[in-house]
Symmetry: D2
Subunit: 355 residues, 4 copies
């Protein structure tokens, strides 16, 4: 298939269908509305169901219900709308059901603004909902990567029976870029041994639930999840690195911010500063290990985010005191220019290892 020029939101929607998604439940919010708009037309044509529900709460619980039948189902929203879904996500994670949640982040907190943000990192990676649960978080930095990761999102969700989040920012959702779609997957009609599809009086009923008042079995369930999360950490962590072994300074960024960092890194090369880049593609599991390969020349690690500093916590944990960790962020919908980041890099470079 040749490339087509598309908005990130549209590419995410088209790719979802190609990845086998046939059910969407959501409620509108800027800047992700092209996703439901696209699916409201395309899903019925693909034999699927698009439903705009009464609220974000209703939609995530419809996702819960559909997921229990084994179909590929998704919802999408933006920051405040994702906040409303936290209880539902916790329930789905507890009940071990696969689904995909897209968050096209806007500036916060509260209703905030409609321009891009990255301030839902904590919510996405630690679970804004209650209890010990995790979900894989993919953070694409281009429209093409967003389209590709939708396939991974549905596959990973199904493989581990868990919610998976695609975390973009408003820029990614709104920018147009050429994208080449993967071929549509044939619908998986293979029977699963856990889905609620009616017994047809031929088998015993199955149960899907998140309530368990017996502490012994509930702890067992939590330990099962912990083991699964450990396996996921080992197998599913993804990261893109560039020259970190010999870097004078390493910059960490994800999503569209990483593209600006790349530009800043190129600008620094001309000035004789070797800038390494770590771009986590999965925000959970976080690519801790790769930070151990940062070379001894490195004078510091700079984390750049569209927030007041959230991923920087994971950077600190990963760095574990080996290098000083610095932070630079913009908020409110403001996006840093490459020159701003170059300034930060130079400042840190010149003051050496002093934190």
């Amino acid at each position: 298939m040749s490339k087509v020029l598309m908005k990130g939101n549209e590419a995410i929607a088209e790719s979802a269908i190609r990845a086998g998604c046939r059910y969407f439940f959501g409620y509108p919010i800027t800047p992700q509305n092209e996703i439901p708009e696209y699916l409201s037309s395309a899903l019925p044509k693909a034999g699927g169901v698009f439903l705009q529900a009464e609220s974000e709460i209703a939609s995530i619980n419809m996702v819960f219900g559909a997921a229990a039948t084994g179909v590929r189902v998704m919802t999408s929203s933006s920051s405040p709308g994702i906040s409303l879904k936290q209880e539902g996500i916790s329930y789905i994670a507890a009940a071990r059901l696969p689904c995909v949640i897209v968050n096209i982040m806007r500036a916060g907190p509260g209703l905030g603004g409609i321009l891009p943000g990255q301030a839902d990192y904590f919510q996405a990676t630690r679970g804004g909902g209650n209890g010990d649960y995790r979900h894989v978080v993919y953070a694409p930095s281009t429209v093409q990567e967003a389209a590709d990761l939708m396939f991974d999102a549905f596959d990973t969700a199904e493989r581990y029976r868990m919610p998976v989040m695609l975390l973009g920012d408003g820029m990614l959702g709104q920018m147009m870029e050429p994208v080449e779609f993967k071929e549509a997957l044939p619908l998986n009609t293979e029977e699963k041994d856990w889905t609620l599809t009616g017994t047809g009086n031929k088998r015993k009923p199955r149960k899907i639930y998140s309530l368990d008042v017996n502490p012994v079995t509930l702890e067992e369930h939590n330990l099962f999840l912990a083991d699964m999360y450990k396996e996921i950490t080992e197998k599913e962590t993804r990261v893109e690195c560039e020259g970190i072994e010999k870097a004078d300074l390493v910059v960490v960024a994800y999503g569209t911010t990483a593209r600006i960092v790349k530009e800043a890194s190129d600008m620094c090369k001309n000035e004789g500063i070797k800038v390494g880049i770590i771009r986590p593609i999965t925000l959970w599991p976080y690519p801790d290990k790769v930070f151990e390969t940062i070379g001894s020349d490195c004078k510091g690690v700079l984390c750049v985010e569209l927030s007041l500093g959230q991923m920087v916590d994971d950077v600190k944990i990963a760095v574990n005191g080996r290098q000083p960790v610095h932070f630079y962020g913009r908020t409110g919908g403001m996006v840093p220019g490459a020159d701003e980041i170059v300034d930060q890099i130079k400042r840190i470079y010149s003051t050496g290892r002093s934190k």
Copy 2:
């Protein structure tokens, strides 16, 4: 006033009224139901309003509305119910309004069980809602401390115009202990310059909102909040430490878990192991600084939680690679015995500084 024997939940409710709270909006959930039950009777007698709303969403938004008028207002719930309030909390934080939120945690994730848990630490300290916001989190370990901290909660909320959370676990809510209440505060009728109380045609209308589509002013607002959070970190951090300068091993725990750790520590003394204890009283701001005073004899830092490991992230950040960090947790409503913790301590002690 002499001591009375009371459940933690009841003491929290009684103390709220003494601290000047006159408005409560909530929705029932175990194991915190004694709070609304107590207030449903006591608040009207105190000239206040108790309202059981249609849902958790409705109740947090009623808190939002009441807070805008400058009164002392609270809600309470337990884990899944708190998840449902995340959007509202983010809005209240963005709009800079004071209120108190009590979370008496149960085991999760999802609907989970009704026995105690501490697995909402991430949600409480990083904001399960969207955007860059923080709220002070008090973590009492006794009924007396819970009663006392309710005064601090309302004062801090009002001083900084922000939501403040009291984070307990089911054990704290249900246990009965003698408690001595502070004297009731006189109601603060001082006029504030930001409340929405009607202009009476005597002044210009004021506005309270969380939406700001102008990125310049929204970033300014975020930076204002960042400065405020920094000030709070400096002034409001609270922690209780015991023998950490000369400890062979330091154990970190909060809430009722810290009481079990204390018991374990005493048991270790007899075996010649010097166990230091760090008990954060505020979970945010986190008492990072105190970790720098851990002595050089310390072979490791053990974090104990009723979770699969959440506060341990903050411990790692605070320790910053100086000592190996270990974790021990129970979940599902299971509570570790002091002997279990002693076993963990001995295991770490015997293997030395090897992580």
Copy 3:
């Protein structure tokens, strides 16, 4: 007290407080917003509670809850909002609780327009909710009468323990007229034997419910209600009549429409046509009996409404074939002029008794 110039909506609100109402739960809708606006400021000052709920459903159920404690409570809305409350009204009627519901009707159906209408007559008099229940419906035609009837509304509601509706149209709500308020009633603190106010461990718990799966007792309950409705019909029916014994023609109208009819009647006098007027003040119970006193000269009965014809059903039942019944209505927010009604009267008069 001297007269003050006030909008109908404001007079209704002020009078509610004077009649002892201390609790209001509602959700905004034009053209009745002056009622909640007034009460949001005045109720707290009177020691009461004003609450804007999440929805119309929530607000009517809060009315249900408050009514169960024996306090004087009301809600107000306009046509579509009242539709949403029908389930709740049926529950309150079934549970035998006193409350006052104000409907300031707008043009329908559906969202309709914001101009006046009288097309909720069926809903008001037959119960838009399920089951056999009735509630008294007062239909004031002046601001003064609206203010006065609020006292009757609360008294009747309490006397019979039932919902009572004040049914106005947008004109009544928005027009300004001089009004003289009755003196405020002292709050009735007399203990009732059916309210849920907490047992204080001194009496047996009481129950208030609308569910009864035993058909024998449920039928008994229905027959009890039927007897009560019969008693109310005998004692509480109210009507204003003018010259119906000797009329050439009788016009029936309620609310502000009756004022236009009065004007038309005066205009007819000059033309030698004797027009009698029946103005029901209670729409349920309906003043059937008075129709029997219409004189033998009467050539027909004309019903005028801001609808396509609803009260005309009750007119036909009351007339029972003795005179031909005619109808004239305007809808969509259009209000007939007196001259239009005169035209109708002349047309009927000239064609004699032929229907």
Copy 4:
């Protein structure tokens, strides 16, 4: 096709699919749960969508949305659930959209009981929602008739673009009878000129709405509806009569109650009383005209309902004073025996024309 033995609820569901219904949105309530249960399995197999929504409100508004696209869509509920849908029904009627609403009535008012009732007659025939609107109401008395009328319901709804109600009682829903289904209709794929199906950039956008703040056009819309209602009254009224021209007494009843009346009528024949029967099949439009054919021997008209007297209003209007009108009703889920009705008939017969 041969006959199958089926519950009324199941037959209604099966017949809906055969009549082309492919969308169902609802919320569970006894005694109609076999309808959603059947459709939850059968609709997806027929390429349709079954969705259990968050609430009755959500489900009727989903019906609203689906109807706007021109598909055949339905909801079903029982008394209190239907009360919650009144606002939505008024909106759908105002927006001129076709849909089918099934009400399997239970005893009321309020939550009432789960046994059969007929006390939602007023709500069904006069519109429990706001404004001047009507919808056709079919009242089947056998399972076979219920199955057949579902075809009429969908056809009538589509022909006039209006909601149509099938009004049964719990007996009808729960009883099993042999039923022969009509052959499934081919899906109507003919394009309509009013549906919202996306312009495909090939035509101008269409609008569907119920709000119109211009009183002139809103009145025009109401008059258009009035003309349509008149046409429907002329063309769609249905009734079953038996021996009313020569009857000593006429009994009026609908639904399953009419079957008991038939039995009573047969019993009276043996005693020399000629009992005529009027069984309205459409409750709106009401078969007024047929009452004019009641013969001059008739000593009275008895209306029998599972209510305290609702259809009796329409009987009085239709009779218009020509005969005395009597009423007999049972409520709370109690169903009269044929002998009870015979007693009533004898009582009226013996006292002659005295009312």
